[in-house]
Symmetry: C2
Subunit: 229 residues, 2 copies
DNA sequence: TTTTGTGAACTAGTTCACAGCT
DNA sequence: AGCTGTGAACTAGTTCACAAAA
Protein backbone atom coordinates (compact mmCIF):
# COMPACT_ATOMS: atom_id res chain seq x y z
CA UNK A 1 0.00 0.00 0.00
CA UNK A 2 0.95 3.58 0.34
CA UNK A 3 0.84 5.70 3.44
CA UNK A 4 -0.02 9.29 2.58
CA UNK A 5 3.41 10.59 1.84
CA UNK A 6 3.41 14.36 2.25
CA UNK A 7 1.60 17.04 4.18
CA UNK A 8 -1.47 17.00 1.99
CA UNK A 9 -2.90 13.56 1.35
CA UNK A 10 -2.85 12.40 -2.22
CA UNK A 11 -5.29 9.98 -3.76
CA UNK A 12 -3.01 7.03 -4.41
CA UNK A 13 -2.96 5.10 -7.63
CA UNK A 14 -3.91 8.17 -9.62
CA UNK A 15 -2.13 11.12 -11.16
CA UNK A 16 -2.30 14.12 -9.00
CA UNK A 17 -1.17 17.56 -8.05
CA UNK A 18 -0.93 18.87 -4.48
CA UNK A 19 1.74 20.20 -2.24
CA UNK A 20 3.48 21.62 -5.26
CA UNK A 21 6.16 19.67 -6.96
CA UNK A 22 9.59 21.15 -7.44
CA UNK A 23 10.47 22.52 -10.83
CA UNK A 24 13.47 20.20 -10.84
CA UNK A 25 11.09 17.27 -10.61
CA UNK A 26 8.80 18.42 -13.42
CA UNK A 27 11.82 19.03 -15.64
CA UNK A 28 12.90 15.48 -15.00
CA UNK A 29 9.45 14.10 -15.78
CA UNK A 30 9.70 15.79 -19.14
CA UNK A 31 13.08 14.23 -19.60
CA UNK A 32 11.85 10.77 -18.67
CA UNK A 33 9.12 11.12 -21.25
CA UNK A 34 11.71 11.86 -23.89
CA UNK A 35 13.71 8.81 -22.85
CA UNK A 36 10.63 6.65 -23.08
CA UNK A 37 10.00 7.91 -26.59
CA UNK A 38 13.47 6.79 -27.54
CA UNK A 39 12.95 3.41 -25.91
CA UNK A 40 9.59 2.92 -27.53
CA UNK A 41 10.88 3.61 -31.02
CA UNK A 42 13.65 1.12 -30.25
CA UNK A 43 10.94 -1.44 -29.55
CA UNK A 44 11.55 -1.73 -25.80
CA UNK A 45 8.40 -2.83 -23.99
CA UNK A 46 9.53 -2.71 -20.41
CA UNK A 47 12.30 -0.92 -18.54
CA UNK A 48 13.64 -0.94 -15.00
CA UNK A 49 14.66 2.25 -13.24
CA UNK A 50 18.14 0.78 -13.15
CA UNK A 51 18.34 0.29 -16.91
CA UNK A 52 16.76 3.67 -17.62
CA UNK A 53 19.28 5.33 -15.35
CA UNK A 54 22.25 3.63 -16.96
CA UNK A 55 21.13 4.30 -20.49
CA UNK A 56 20.49 8.01 -19.98
CA UNK A 57 22.90 8.87 -17.15
CA UNK A 58 20.30 9.34 -14.47
CA UNK A 59 19.90 8.07 -10.92
CA UNK A 60 17.65 5.05 -10.47
CA UNK A 61 16.42 5.97 -6.99
CA UNK A 62 15.52 9.42 -8.17
CA UNK A 63 13.54 8.08 -11.11
CA UNK A 64 11.60 5.82 -8.78
CA UNK A 65 10.94 8.57 -6.30
CA UNK A 66 9.83 11.04 -8.96
CA UNK A 67 7.42 8.54 -10.46
CA UNK A 68 6.18 7.07 -7.19
CA UNK A 69 5.08 10.51 -6.10
CA UNK A 70 2.37 10.45 -8.75
CA UNK A 71 1.25 6.86 -8.40
CA UNK A 72 2.39 3.26 -8.39
CA UNK A 73 3.32 2.90 -12.01
CA UNK A 74 5.90 0.17 -11.69
CA UNK A 75 5.67 -3.57 -11.29
CA UNK A 76 8.04 -5.13 -8.78
CA UNK A 77 10.37 -7.62 -10.30
CA UNK A 78 9.62 -6.26 -13.78
CA UNK A 79 10.02 -2.50 -13.99
CA UNK A 80 7.82 -0.08 -15.88
CA UNK A 81 5.82 -0.76 -19.01
CA UNK A 82 7.13 1.81 -21.48
CA UNK A 83 3.82 2.46 -23.18
CA UNK A 84 1.93 2.75 -19.89
CA UNK A 85 4.43 4.99 -18.25
CA UNK A 86 4.51 7.22 -21.31
CA UNK A 87 0.76 7.59 -21.10
CA UNK A 88 0.92 8.41 -17.41
CA UNK A 89 3.66 10.98 -17.87
CA UNK A 90 1.85 12.63 -20.74
CA UNK A 91 -1.21 12.86 -18.56
CA UNK A 92 0.69 14.24 -15.57
CA UNK A 93 2.38 16.84 -17.75
CA UNK A 94 -0.93 17.79 -19.31
CA UNK A 95 0.20 16.73 -22.76
CA UNK A 96 -2.79 14.53 -23.39
CA UNK A 97 -4.68 17.47 -24.85
CA UNK A 98 -3.34 19.87 -27.47
CA UNK A 99 -1.91 23.07 -25.98
CA UNK A 100 -1.97 26.22 -28.06
CA UNK A 101 0.89 28.67 -27.84
CA UNK A 102 1.26 32.30 -28.92
CA UNK A 103 4.56 33.97 -29.58
CA UNK A 104 4.86 37.61 -28.69
CA UNK A 105 7.22 39.41 -31.02
CA UNK A 106 7.71 38.56 -34.69
CA UNK A 107 11.37 39.53 -34.76
CA UNK A 108 14.21 37.16 -35.61
CA UNK A 109 13.83 35.14 -32.48
CA UNK A 110 10.03 35.04 -32.46
CA UNK A 111 9.89 33.88 -36.07
CA UNK A 112 12.52 31.24 -35.44
CA UNK A 113 10.66 29.92 -32.42
CA UNK A 114 7.37 29.89 -34.33
CA UNK A 115 8.83 27.43 -36.80
CA UNK A 116 10.96 25.50 -34.31
CA UNK A 117 10.13 21.84 -34.83
CA UNK A 118 10.81 20.90 -31.20
CA UNK A 119 7.83 22.97 -30.13
CA UNK A 120 5.42 21.12 -32.36
CA UNK A 121 5.96 17.65 -30.96
CA UNK A 122 4.24 16.41 -27.84
CA UNK A 123 0.99 18.23 -28.33
CA UNK A 124 2.02 21.86 -28.59
CA UNK A 125 0.72 23.98 -31.41
CA UNK A 126 2.06 27.42 -32.24
CA UNK A 127 -1.17 29.14 -33.20
CA UNK A 128 -0.15 32.76 -33.55
CA UNK A 129 2.53 35.40 -33.58
CA UNK A 130 1.83 38.88 -32.26
CA UNK A 131 3.63 42.11 -33.10
CA UNK A 132 2.92 45.82 -33.04
CA UNK A 133 4.57 46.69 -36.35
CA UNK A 134 1.97 47.53 -38.97
CA UNK A 135 4.00 46.00 -41.80
CA UNK A 136 4.36 42.63 -40.07
CA UNK A 137 0.71 42.21 -39.13
CA UNK A 138 -1.09 40.13 -41.74
CA UNK A 139 2.09 38.36 -42.82
CA UNK A 140 3.04 34.92 -41.65
CA UNK A 141 6.15 33.00 -40.66
CA UNK A 142 7.88 30.79 -43.19
CA UNK A 143 6.17 27.83 -41.59
CA UNK A 144 2.77 29.53 -41.92
CA UNK A 145 2.07 30.90 -38.46
CA UNK A 146 -0.03 34.08 -38.89
CA UNK A 147 1.11 37.38 -37.41
CA UNK A 148 -1.58 39.37 -35.62
CA UNK A 149 -1.69 42.82 -34.13
CA UNK A 150 -0.77 42.68 -30.49
CA UNK A 151 -3.87 44.68 -29.64
CA UNK A 152 -5.98 41.75 -30.72
CA UNK A 153 -4.22 39.42 -28.31
CA UNK A 154 -7.16 39.02 -25.96
CA UNK A 155 -9.70 38.42 -28.70
CA UNK A 156 -7.58 35.99 -30.67
CA UNK A 157 -6.26 34.07 -27.71
CA UNK A 158 -9.83 33.51 -26.52
CA UNK A 159 -10.89 32.42 -29.99
CA UNK A 160 -7.93 30.08 -30.50
CA UNK A 161 -7.81 28.82 -26.94
CA UNK A 162 -4.23 29.95 -26.40
CA UNK A 163 -2.94 28.99 -22.96
CA UNK A 164 0.80 29.65 -23.19
CA UNK A 165 2.65 32.76 -24.35
CA UNK A 166 6.29 33.02 -25.34
CA UNK A 167 7.87 36.44 -24.86
CA UNK A 168 10.39 37.17 -27.60
CA UNK A 169 10.31 40.96 -27.66
CA UNK A 170 13.14 43.40 -26.87
CA UNK A 171 13.84 43.79 -23.16
CA UNK A 172 12.35 47.29 -22.79
CA UNK A 173 8.91 46.12 -23.98
CA UNK A 174 8.89 42.85 -22.07
CA UNK A 175 7.06 44.05 -18.97
CA UNK A 176 4.38 45.77 -21.00
CA UNK A 177 3.86 42.71 -23.15
CA UNK A 178 3.68 40.52 -20.07
CA UNK A 179 0.95 42.76 -18.72
CA UNK A 180 -1.01 42.36 -21.95
CA UNK A 181 -0.56 38.60 -21.77
CA UNK A 182 -1.83 38.61 -18.19
CA UNK A 183 -4.80 40.75 -19.18
CA UNK A 184 -5.64 38.28 -21.92
CA UNK A 185 -6.04 35.60 -19.25
CA UNK A 186 -2.98 33.58 -20.24
CA UNK A 187 -1.42 32.01 -17.15
CA UNK A 188 1.79 30.39 -18.40
CA UNK A 189 4.66 32.26 -19.99
CA UNK A 190 8.02 31.31 -21.39
CA UNK A 191 10.19 34.40 -21.32
CA UNK A 192 13.28 35.00 -23.44
CA UNK A 193 13.86 38.59 -22.48
CA UNK A 194 16.57 39.37 -19.96
CA UNK A 195 15.90 41.32 -16.79
CA UNK A 196 13.38 41.16 -14.00
CA UNK A 197 9.68 40.97 -14.70
CA UNK A 198 6.90 41.67 -12.24
CA UNK A 199 4.53 38.75 -12.52
CA UNK A 200 1.02 38.29 -11.03
CA UNK A 201 0.88 35.57 -8.36
CA UNK A 202 -1.44 33.24 -10.27
CA UNK A 203 0.82 33.15 -13.29
CA UNK A 204 3.79 30.93 -14.00
CA UNK A 205 6.76 32.55 -15.66
CA UNK A 206 9.66 30.45 -16.86
CA UNK A 207 12.64 32.40 -18.11
CA UNK A 208 15.39 31.41 -20.47
CA UNK A 209 18.14 33.93 -19.98
CA UNK A 210 20.66 33.65 -22.77
CA UNK A 211 22.97 36.28 -21.35
CA UNK A 212 23.17 34.51 -18.02
CA UNK A 213 23.84 31.21 -19.79
CA UNK A 214 26.65 32.67 -21.86
CA UNK A 215 28.20 34.45 -18.90
CA UNK A 216 28.15 31.24 -16.94
CA UNK A 217 30.19 29.66 -19.72
CA UNK A 218 32.50 32.64 -19.68
CA UNK A 219 33.06 32.09 -15.97
CA UNK A 220 33.99 28.48 -16.66
CA UNK A 221 36.54 29.56 -19.25
CA UNK A 222 37.94 32.25 -16.97
CA UNK A 223 38.53 29.64 -14.26
CA UNK A 224 40.37 27.36 -16.61
CA UNK A 225 42.54 30.19 -17.96
CA UNK A 226 43.72 31.55 -14.64
CA UNK A 227 44.01 28.35 -12.66
CA UNK A 228 45.98 25.09 -12.94
CA UNK A 229 49.76 25.57 -12.88
CA UNK B 1 40.31 39.18 8.28
CA UNK B 2 39.19 35.99 6.66
CA UNK B 3 39.80 32.44 7.76
CA UNK B 4 40.20 30.10 4.79
CA UNK B 5 36.60 29.20 4.21
CA UNK B 6 36.45 26.01 2.23
CA UNK B 7 38.46 22.87 1.62
CA UNK B 8 40.95 24.55 -0.65
CA UNK B 9 42.42 27.79 0.67
CA UNK B 10 41.68 30.89 -1.32
CA UNK B 11 43.87 33.95 -1.54
CA UNK B 12 41.73 36.50 0.23
CA UNK B 13 41.16 39.99 -1.03
CA UNK B 14 41.43 38.88 -4.62
CA UNK B 15 39.15 37.32 -7.21
CA UNK B 16 39.58 33.67 -7.37
CA UNK B 17 38.46 30.30 -8.60
CA UNK B 18 38.94 27.07 -6.67
CA UNK B 19 36.72 24.47 -5.10
CA UNK B 20 34.27 24.95 -7.91
CA UNK B 21 31.43 27.31 -7.49
CA UNK B 22 27.89 26.14 -8.01
CA UNK B 23 26.17 26.97 -11.26
CA UNK B 24 23.43 28.62 -9.25
CA UNK B 25 26.00 31.01 -7.85
CA UNK B 26 27.53 31.92 -11.19
CA UNK B 27 24.08 32.53 -12.62
CA UNK B 28 23.40 34.92 -9.79
CA UNK B 29 26.68 36.74 -10.33
CA UNK B 30 25.61 37.37 -13.88
CA UNK B 31 22.32 38.65 -12.58
CA UNK B 32 23.97 40.96 -10.08
CA UNK B 33 26.04 42.42 -12.87
CA UNK B 34 22.90 43.20 -14.81
CA UNK B 35 21.38 44.88 -11.75
CA UNK B 36 24.48 46.98 -11.32
CA UNK B 37 24.25 48.09 -14.92
CA UNK B 38 20.73 49.30 -14.25
CA UNK B 39 21.83 51.08 -11.09
CA UNK B 40 24.78 52.70 -12.78
CA UNK B 41 22.71 54.10 -15.61
CA UNK B 42 20.36 55.44 -12.94
CA UNK B 43 23.33 57.26 -11.47
CA UNK B 44 23.58 55.23 -8.25
CA UNK B 45 27.13 55.28 -6.90
CA UNK B 46 26.79 52.98 -3.93
CA UNK B 47 24.35 50.22 -2.94
CA UNK B 48 23.81 48.05 0.11
CA UNK B 49 22.99 44.37 -0.20
CA UNK B 50 19.71 45.23 1.49
CA UNK B 51 18.75 47.84 -1.09
CA UNK B 52 19.91 45.67 -3.97
CA UNK B 53 17.82 42.80 -2.66
CA UNK B 54 14.70 44.90 -2.28
CA UNK B 55 14.97 46.53 -5.66
CA UNK B 56 15.46 43.30 -7.58
CA UNK B 57 13.68 40.75 -5.39
CA UNK B 58 16.75 38.99 -4.15
CA UNK B 59 18.00 37.92 -0.73
CA UNK B 60 20.49 40.25 0.93
CA UNK B 61 22.39 37.55 2.82
CA UNK B 62 22.77 35.56 -0.34
CA UNK B 63 24.14 38.52 -2.26
CA UNK B 64 26.69 39.12 0.47
CA UNK B 65 27.67 35.47 0.63
CA UNK B 66 28.01 35.15 -3.12
CA UNK B 67 30.20 38.23 -3.33
CA UNK B 68 32.23 37.56 -0.19
CA UNK B 69 33.28 34.25 -1.63
CA UNK B 70 35.37 36.07 -4.23
CA UNK B 71 36.78 38.82 -2.06
CA UNK B 72 35.92 41.58 0.34
CA UNK B 73 34.26 43.97 -2.07
CA UNK B 74 32.00 45.76 0.37
CA UNK B 75 32.60 48.56 2.83
CA UNK B 76 30.96 48.18 6.21
CA UNK B 77 28.53 50.91 7.01
CA UNK B 78 28.41 51.89 3.34
CA UNK B 79 27.68 48.97 1.05
CA UNK B 80 29.26 48.33 -2.33
CA UNK B 81 30.57 50.88 -4.79
CA UNK B 82 28.58 50.19 -7.94
CA UNK B 83 31.39 50.91 -10.37
CA UNK B 84 33.91 48.87 -8.40
CA UNK B 85 31.67 45.91 -7.92
CA UNK B 86 30.78 45.93 -11.59
CA UNK B 87 34.45 45.79 -12.45
CA UNK B 88 35.04 42.93 -10.05
CA UNK B 89 32.09 40.94 -11.34
CA UNK B 90 33.12 41.44 -14.94
CA UNK B 91 36.55 40.19 -14.03
CA UNK B 92 35.25 37.17 -12.10
CA UNK B 93 32.95 36.25 -14.99
CA UNK B 94 35.77 36.66 -17.47
CA UNK B 95 34.00 39.47 -19.28
CA UNK B 96 36.94 41.85 -19.11
CA UNK B 97 38.27 40.48 -22.38
CA UNK B 98 36.22 40.00 -25.55
CA UNK B 99 34.91 36.46 -25.98
CA UNK B 100 34.28 35.16 -29.47
CA UNK B 101 31.38 32.86 -30.14
CA UNK B 102 30.51 30.57 -33.06
CA UNK B 103 27.04 29.38 -33.84
CA UNK B 104 26.69 25.91 -35.26
CA UNK B 105 23.75 25.68 -37.63
CA UNK B 106 22.55 28.51 -39.85
CA UNK B 107 18.89 27.51 -39.70
CA UNK B 108 16.12 29.70 -38.35
CA UNK B 109 17.31 29.48 -34.79
CA UNK B 110 21.01 29.84 -35.53
CA UNK B 111 20.46 32.91 -37.68
CA UNK B 112 18.22 34.48 -35.06
CA UNK B 113 20.77 33.86 -32.34
CA UNK B 114 23.57 35.26 -34.50
CA UNK B 115 21.80 38.60 -34.64
CA UNK B 116 20.40 38.52 -31.11
CA UNK B 117 21.38 41.81 -29.51
CA UNK B 118 21.56 40.36 -25.99
CA UNK B 119 24.54 38.29 -27.06
CA UNK B 120 26.53 41.28 -28.21
CA UNK B 121 26.56 43.17 -24.96
CA UNK B 122 28.99 42.44 -22.15
CA UNK B 123 31.93 41.50 -24.30
CA UNK B 124 30.60 38.69 -26.44
CA UNK B 125 31.10 38.74 -30.17
CA UNK B 126 29.38 36.40 -32.56
CA UNK B 127 32.18 35.81 -35.02
CA UNK B 128 30.87 33.05 -37.22
CA UNK B 129 28.05 30.75 -38.22
CA UNK B 130 28.78 27.23 -39.42
CA UNK B 131 26.60 25.03 -41.59
CA UNK B 132 27.03 22.08 -43.90
CA UNK B 133 24.68 23.23 -46.65
CA UNK B 134 26.57 24.30 -49.73
CA UNK B 135 24.10 27.06 -50.57
CA UNK B 136 24.36 28.69 -47.15
CA UNK B 137 28.14 28.73 -46.96
CA UNK B 138 29.47 32.08 -48.14
CA UNK B 139 26.25 33.88 -47.24
CA UNK B 140 25.85 35.88 -44.08
CA UNK B 141 23.17 36.62 -41.51
CA UNK B 142 21.11 39.79 -41.79
CA UNK B 143 23.34 41.31 -39.15
CA UNK B 144 26.44 40.40 -41.15
CA UNK B 145 27.76 37.27 -39.44
CA UNK B 146 29.47 35.16 -42.11
CA UNK B 147 28.46 31.54 -42.68
CA UNK B 148 31.32 29.09 -43.07
CA UNK B 149 31.52 25.44 -43.98
CA UNK B 150 31.43 23.32 -40.87
CA UNK B 151 34.48 21.45 -42.08
CA UNK B 152 36.51 24.61 -41.63
CA UNK B 153 35.48 24.90 -38.00
CA UNK B 154 38.87 24.05 -36.57
CA UNK B 155 40.80 26.35 -38.89
CA UNK B 156 38.47 29.31 -38.50
CA UNK B 157 37.99 28.99 -34.79
CA UNK B 158 41.74 28.99 -34.30
CA UNK B 159 42.10 32.00 -36.58
CA UNK B 160 39.29 33.95 -34.95
CA UNK B 161 40.03 32.84 -31.41
CA UNK B 162 36.59 31.35 -30.89
CA UNK B 163 36.14 29.97 -27.39
CA UNK B 164 32.40 29.32 -27.15
CA UNK B 165 30.12 27.37 -29.49
CA UNK B 166 26.35 27.49 -29.62
CA UNK B 167 24.68 24.35 -30.94
CA UNK B 168 21.57 25.19 -32.95
CA UNK B 169 21.38 22.20 -35.27
CA UNK B 170 18.62 19.58 -35.50
CA UNK B 171 18.71 17.01 -32.71
CA UNK B 172 19.99 14.10 -34.81
CA UNK B 173 23.17 15.99 -35.79
CA UNK B 174 23.83 17.47 -32.37
CA UNK B 175 26.20 14.81 -31.08
CA UNK B 176 28.24 14.82 -34.26
CA UNK B 177 28.50 18.60 -34.22
CA UNK B 178 29.48 18.55 -30.56
CA UNK B 179 32.27 16.15 -31.44
CA UNK B 180 33.52 18.53 -34.12
CA UNK B 181 33.40 21.40 -31.65
CA UNK B 182 35.40 19.36 -29.15
CA UNK B 183 37.92 18.44 -31.85
CA UNK B 184 38.33 22.14 -32.66
CA UNK B 185 39.48 22.71 -29.09
CA UNK B 186 36.43 24.69 -28.00
CA UNK B 187 35.70 24.01 -24.35
CA UNK B 188 32.43 25.81 -23.65
CA UNK B 189 29.14 25.04 -25.37
CA UNK B 190 25.64 26.38 -25.16
CA UNK B 191 23.32 23.70 -26.48
CA UNK B 192 19.81 24.25 -27.81
CA UNK B 193 19.20 20.76 -29.08
CA UNK B 194 17.05 18.42 -27.01
CA UNK B 195 18.25 15.04 -25.87
CA UNK B 196 21.30 13.68 -24.14
CA UNK B 197 24.78 14.53 -25.37
CA UNK B 198 27.97 12.73 -24.48
CA UNK B 199 30.44 15.40 -23.48
CA UNK B 200 34.21 15.13 -22.80
CA UNK B 201 35.12 15.76 -19.16
CA UNK B 202 37.13 18.92 -19.75
CA UNK B 203 34.28 20.64 -21.56
CA UNK B 204 31.39 22.61 -20.13
CA UNK B 205 28.01 22.08 -21.74
CA UNK B 206 25.10 24.24 -20.80
CA UNK B 207 21.78 23.21 -22.27
CA UNK B 208 18.67 25.21 -22.93
CA UNK B 209 15.91 22.71 -23.45
CA UNK B 210 12.87 24.40 -24.92
CA UNK B 211 10.73 21.29 -24.87
CA UNK B 212 11.38 20.72 -21.19
CA UNK B 213 10.59 24.37 -20.46
CA UNK B 214 7.30 24.23 -22.31
CA UNK B 215 6.31 20.94 -20.74
CA UNK B 216 7.01 22.34 -17.33
CA UNK B 217 4.54 25.13 -18.11
CA UNK B 218 2.08 22.56 -19.34
CA UNK B 219 2.39 20.76 -16.01
CA UNK B 220 1.59 23.98 -14.21
CA UNK B 221 -1.53 24.48 -16.30
CA UNK B 222 -2.60 20.87 -15.83
CA UNK B 223 -2.40 21.31 -12.06
CA UNK B 224 -4.56 24.41 -12.14
CA UNK B 225 -7.15 22.78 -14.37
CA UNK B 226 -7.66 19.63 -12.34
CA UNK B 227 -7.30 21.00 -8.84
CA UNK B 228 -9.10 23.63 -6.72
CA UNK B 229 -12.77 22.89 -6.21
C1' DT C 1 15.10 -13.51 -7.96
C1' DT C 2 14.25 -9.00 -9.55
C1' DT C 3 12.79 -4.54 -8.88
C1' DT C 4 9.74 -1.30 -6.88
C1' DG C 5 8.51 2.20 -3.31
C1' DT C 6 10.18 4.62 0.53
C1' DG C 7 12.11 5.88 5.26
C1' DA C 8 16.57 7.31 6.67
C1' DA C 9 20.98 9.39 5.80
C1' DC C 10 23.33 12.49 3.42
C1' DT C 11 24.56 16.60 0.56
C1' DA C 12 23.68 21.07 -1.31
C1' DG C 13 21.74 25.47 -1.02
C1' DT C 14 19.49 29.26 1.49
C1' DT C 15 18.48 32.28 5.21
C1' DC C 16 19.17 33.88 9.87
C1' DA C 17 21.40 36.46 13.14
C1' DC C 18 25.15 38.72 14.96
C1' DA C 19 30.11 39.96 15.86
C1' DG C 20 32.98 43.29 14.20
C1' DC C 21 34.46 46.98 11.06
C1' DT C 22 33.76 51.88 9.37
C1' DA D 1 24.38 54.11 13.37
C1' DG D 2 24.84 51.21 9.26
C1' DC D 3 26.32 47.46 6.82
C1' DT D 4 29.43 43.66 5.66
C1' DG D 5 31.16 39.00 6.19
C1' DT D 6 30.20 34.68 8.08
C1' DG D 7 29.25 30.75 11.40
C1' DA D 8 25.09 28.39 12.66
C1' DA D 9 20.45 26.90 11.70
C1' DC D 10 17.44 25.63 8.51
C1' DT D 11 15.31 23.92 4.11
C1' DA D 12 15.47 21.51 -0.15
C1' DG D 13 17.10 17.96 -2.96
C1' DT D 14 19.56 13.59 -3.74
C1' DT D 15 21.13 9.03 -2.85
C1' DC D 16 21.32 4.91 -0.03
C1' DA D 17 19.70 0.76 1.51
C1' DC D 18 16.18 -2.37 2.47
C1' DA D 19 11.50 -4.35 3.39
C1' DA D 20 7.84 -5.94 0.70
C1' DA D 21 5.66 -7.26 -3.70
C1' DA D 22 5.54 -9.92 -8.00
Amino acid sequence: MKPSNKGTARTPGSKQSADQVSELTTNRLSLYLRCLNVLESAGTRTISSQALAEQFHLNAAQIRKDLAYFGEFGVRGVGYYVRDLKRHLRQILGLDKKLRVAIMGAGNLGLALADYPGFRQEGFEISALFDNLREKVGQESRGGVPIYDIHDLRKISKREGIRIAVIAVPAPSAQHVLNLVAAAGIKAVLNFSPGTLEVPPDMKLKSVDLTVSLESLSFFLAQGDGEET
